[in-house]
C-alpha cells in the first residue's frame, strides 16, 4: 500500500544525485517544484508539479540516481509508492502509462536530437551512405541474403540516390552469388563502390540530402599504418608487464625507422622498458641520448622523470632531485600527471633524507 507523507515548506523530498531512488511520488496537496540543470545550456530550470502528478518516476523505474531536486514550496501531502506498488497501480490505469509514454518519448526525441547534433560534428554517417556501407559489409563477407536485403532497401529508399547504380550492381552480384554458391560460400565477390568523384564534386546533387564527402572517409581503424599497429602491440605487451618482449618490439620499430612519429614514441618506450627491467645504467644512457637527439621531444618531462628515477634507484639522490626539480620548473600545468609525479618523487626523496 502506498503511504501518505507530509512535508513542510522548504524541505527537500529528494536531492539530485541521490543513489537510493526507489520511490515514486504523487502530489496530493500543497506545492512542490523540481529543479535541475539543463545539460545543454547549463541553465537552472524549474518545473512546478501539478496536484495529482507523479514525480521521481524515471530514476525509480530506470534504477539510476535522481536527476533533480524535489523541493517543497508550501506544506505538501504526497503519496509514496514503491516500484512494485507503482506498477500495480498504473497497470489498472493504462491511460496513465500512455500519458507517461508520450512525455518520455518527447524527452527521448529531444535528447536524441541533441546527441545527433554533437555527433554530426564528429563522426556520424548519413543514413544513405551508412545503409550502403552495411550492404557492402555483408557482400564482402559473402552474407548474400543479408546483402540482398540491404541493397534492395537502399534502392527502395533512394531510387535516384548517388549510389543507386552501385547498389543495383551489388544487388545483382548478391543474387547471382546466392544462386551460384549459396550463403557464405564462393570466392570473394567484387563489390561496386561509389563512382569516383560523384560524392565529392556536387554535394546536394543527389536525391537525398548529401553530407560532405569526408563522411565517406575509410574507417579510421584501417587508416592506421603498420608501424602504428606494431607500436600499439608493443604498448600492449608493456602494459601486460612483458617488458622484455616489449623492448624487443620497440627496438625493431626504432631500427626499421619507417614512420617518424612512432619511431620517436618507440624510442621513449624502449627506455621505459629498460627501466622496468631494472637496468638503470642502460636506462640513463638511453634517455640521456634521447635528450640530446630530441631536445624538443613532446614527452621531455617524462624522459627527465625516468632519468630522475633511474638515478634515485642507483642511490644518487642529488642528481635525481635535480631532474625532478627541472620538471617542476618546466611544467606550467600543475594538474599534469608528470608534474604531480615529479613533485611526489621529490618530496619522497627529501623526506627520506630528513627523516
Amino acid at each position: 500500500m502506498p503511504k501518505a507523507a507530509n512535508y513542510r515548506a522548504n524541505s527537500v523530498i529528494y536531492f539530485q544525485g541521490d543513489v537510493i531512488s526507489d520511490k515514486i511520488y504523487i502530489l496530493q496537496s500543497g506545492q512542490v517544484v523540481v529543479n535541475y540543470t539543463d545539460i545543454e545550456t547549463g541553465k537552472d530550470l524549474r518545473e512546478v508539479i501539478q496536484t495529482g502528478e507523479f514525480f521521481g518516476v524515471k530514476s525509480a523505474l530506470g534504477k539510476y540516481p535522481r536527476e533533480e531536486n524535489a523541493v517543497v514550496v508550501s506544506d505538501a501531502q504526497v503519496l509514496i509508492f514503491t516500484v512494485p506498488e507503482f506498477e500495480q497501480f498504473v497497470s489498472a490505469n493504462t491511460r496513465i502509462i500512455l500519458k507517461m509514454l508520450r512525455v518520455f518519448s518527447n524527452q527521448l526525441r529531444r535528447i536524441h536530437k541533441q546527441v545527433e547534433n554533437l555527433m554530426e560534428k564528429s563522426e556520424a554517417l548519413s543514413p544513405e551512405i551508412g545503409l550502403f556501407r552495411t550492404g557492402e559489409y555483408y557482400l564482402k563477407n559473402r552474407m548474400y541474403s543479408q546483402a540482398k536485403y540491404v541493397f534492395s532497401r537502399y534502392l527502395t529508399y533512394y531510387p535516384a540516390g548517388k549510389l543507386a547504380d552501385a547498389a543495383s550492381k551489388n544487388l545483382e552480384t548478391s543474387e547471382s552469388c546466392m544462386v551460384k554458391f549459396g550463403d557464405g560460400k564462393g570466392p570473394s565477390p567484387s563489390v561496386a563502390g561509389p563512382p569516383a568523384g560523384t560524392l565529392s564534386a556536387h554535394p546536394g546533387a543527389g536525391a537525398a540530402p548529401a553530407k560532405p564527402a569526408d563522411t565517406l572517409r575509410p574507417q579510421a581503424g584501417q587508416a592506421l599504418s603498420d608501424t602504428a599497429k606494431e607500436y600499439y602491440n608493443a604498448v600492449s605487451l608493456f602494459s601486460q608487464e612483458k617488458y622484455k618482449e616489449a623492448l624487443g618490439e620497440f627496438k625493431r620499430i626504432v631500427e626499421a625507422n619507417q614512420d617518424p612519429e612512432y619511431v620517436v614514441k618507440a624510442a621513449f618506450d624502449m627506455g621505459r622498458s629498460v627501466f622496468m627491467l631494472g637496468q638503470f645504467d642502460a636506462a640513463i644512457a638511453h634517455f640521456t641520448r634521447m635528450v640530446q637527439t630530441y631536445p624538443k621531444h613532446p614527452d621531455l618531462a617524462d624522459i627527465l622523470y625516468y632519468l630522475g628515477q633511474s638515478y634515485a634507484k642507483k642511490g644518487d639522490v642529488e642528481r635525481a632531485k635535480g631532474f625532478f626539480r627541472k620538471i617542476l620548473t618546466m611544467e606550467k600545468d600543475e594538474d599534469n600527471s608528470t608534474f604531480l609525479r615529479a613533485k611526489k618523487a621529490l618530496r619522497g626523496l627529501e623526506e627520506a633524507q630528513n627523516g
Binding site: 527521448l108 536524441h112 564528429s122 574507417q219 579510421a220 604498448v235
Partner: protein, 215 residues
C-alpha cells in the same frame, strides 16, 4: 504473458538469418517477440558486433517512436522468429489492452533517456582524453547497475570492450582513441589487451573527467 490473440494480424514470421531491419534504414515500426531469438548487431569498423540477443517477451526497435530517425542497429532472426509488428498508428490499441507491455516500454524509455543523456555528457567534453576516460566511467556505471550489491575489486575495473567500441561511444576516430589509450597505458593508468581494457584506478578517471568538465 498477456493475451495477444487479438493481434494476430500484426504477426510476422522470419526465418533464421533473415534481416528484420537494417542499421540506417528508416524505421516506423517496433516489435514484440513472441517466439524465437533476435540478434541485435552493429557493424563497427570492419566487424559485425552483436550487441544483444533478445527473446520473448522483449521489445526491440522501440526507437522507431522517434520520427524519421534511422535504425541504430540491425535486427537478425537467429532461428524461426515470430513477432508482432507495431507502429505509431496502432500501438496505442495494443498498449491499452496490455498494460504489462506498456509498462515494459515505459521502462525501456527511461533507460534510453538516461543512456542518451549520459552520451551527451561524454560528447560535450572538449578534451579528447577526458572523453575516453568518461566512456569508461559510463561503462562502469552500467556495470555497477547490472551487478548491484556485488563486491568490487577496489578501484580496479575490467571492461570487455574494443577500441572501436570506445570510439563509437566517444564519437571519435579509432586511431585517435588508440593513441589516447596508448598514452594512458604509458602512464600506467590502463592495461590494454586484445579483448578488454583494464582501468587501474576508476576514481582517478573520475577526478580527471570532473576536472575537465566545464562548470
Amino acid at each position: 504473458m498477456a493475451d495477444l490473440s487479438a493481434f494476430t494480424r500484426f504477426a510476422r514470421t522470419y526465418q533464421a538469418g533473415e534481416i528484420i531491419f537494417s542499421e540506417y534504414e528508416p524505421g516506423d515500426s517496433f516489435y514484440l517477440i513472441q517466439s524465437g531469438k533476435v540478434r541485435i548487431a552493429k557493424i563497427v569498423g570492419d566487424i559485425e558486433k552483436t550487441i544483444d540477443v533478445l527473446q520473448p517477451p522483449e521489445i526491440f526497435g522501440e526507437m522507431a517512436i522517434l520520427e524519421g530517425t534511422p535504425r541504430s542497429a540491425t535486427a537478425v532472426a537467429v532461428d524461426t522468429v515470430r513477432v508482432l509488428e507495431f507502429n505509431r498508428a496502432n500501438f496505442e490499441v495494443l498498449m491499452m489492452g496490455n498494460p504489462q507491455i506498456a509498462l515494459r516500454l515505459l521502462k525501456l524509455f527511461t533507460k534510453r533517456i538516461y543512456d542518451q543523456k549520459r552520451r551527451f555528457m561524454i560528447l560535450t567534453l572538449e578534451d579528447p582524453q577526458a572523453r575516453v576516460a568518461d566512456v569508461f566511467l559510463m561503462l562502469d556505471e552500467t556495470q555497477a547497475a547490472a551487478t548491484a550489491g556485488a563486491e568490487q575489486d577496489g578501484e580496479k575495473r575490467e571492461f570487455k570492450v574494443t577500441i572501436e567500441d570506445v570510439a563509437h561511444w566517444g564519437g571519435m576516430g579509432a586511431s585517435e582513441v588508440q593513441t589516447i589509450l596508448g598514452h594512458f597505458a604509458n602512464q600506467r593508468r590502463v592495461e590494454l589487451y586484445p579483448d578488454r581494457v583494464v582501468v587501474r584506478n576508476i576514481s582517478d578517471f573520475s577526478r580527471f573527467v570532473n576536472s575537465r568538465r566545464k562548470k
